[in-house]
């Protein structure tokens, strides 16, 4: 799982049937210090997240499919929670 920020939404009409009825979000994975970690990715939404939210991102097939309730479908990333707060030991960043 990764920490990520929702930076946008994506509209697709022609897509795999298992993606219908779920929001497609553009999420930017983040490092602990809040800087960007690679490029933004596309994820299905399991928790009704919106642009600007800091979220938990599942980046593996089984967990992503289970989270959006679509087993055996081509889904490898899903937003599975909101992050309220992160506590770190002093010196960790």
């Amino acid at each position: 799982m990764l920490i990520a920020r929702v930076v946008g939404e994506l509209v697709a009409t022609q897509k795999h049937a298992s993606h219908e009825g779920r929001k497609l979000l553009l999420v930017q994975p983040l490092n602990l210090d809040g800087s960007n970690r690679g490029d933004a990715v596309v994820a299905l939404d399991a928790v009704d997240a919106g642009v600007g939210d800091r979220v938990l991102l599942a980046t593996e097939g089984f967990s992503a499919m289970t989270a959006v309730g679509r087993p055996n479908s081509p889904i490898d990333m899903a937003v599975i929670g909101f992050i309220d707060h992160i506590d770190l030991m002093p010196g960790v960043s």
């Binding site: 939404e9 994506l10 993606h19 497609l24 081509p74």
Partner: protein, 114 residues
């Protein structure tokens, strides 16, 4: 899932039986701003995407699931064609009209002073 642009097609006569009849596309990964990023790769297609289209693709075992019950030996599949992307960005003033406006405005003011 990742964003990409279709930049080509791959044809193969001799291939695994489960790949018969499937289209293979060359995909250039892109950022949400549609800048190229990373290396090009080959994806199977389950949407009918064509050259130049922005698509999104999955990676890993999930890539073969759209073709069930057949299990083609693939690791990337195009699963959707992107119609539009809404990015949260600061509103930008279009560069060209602003540049065109400024000289005219200054010119008028200067003439007035004369």
């Amino acid at each position: 899932m990742f964003l990409g642009r279709v930049v080509g097609c791959v044809w193969a006569t001799v291939k695994h039986a489960a790949l018969e009849g499937q289209r293979m596309l060359v995909i250039q990964p892109v950022t949400p701003e549609l800048r190229n990023t990373g290396k090009r790769l080959i994806c199977l297609d389950c949407t009918g995407a064509g050259a130049g289209e922005i698509i999104y693709w999955v990676r890993g075992r999930e890539a073969s699931l759209p073709f069930a019950p057949s299990e083609p030996p693939i690791d990337t599949t195009v699963v959707g064609i992107v119609d539009s992307i809404h990015l949260k960005t600061e509103p930008k003033v279009p560069a060209a009209p602003a540049a065109a406006r400024t000289p005219t405005h200054r010119k008028g003011k200067r003439n007035g002073n004369r």
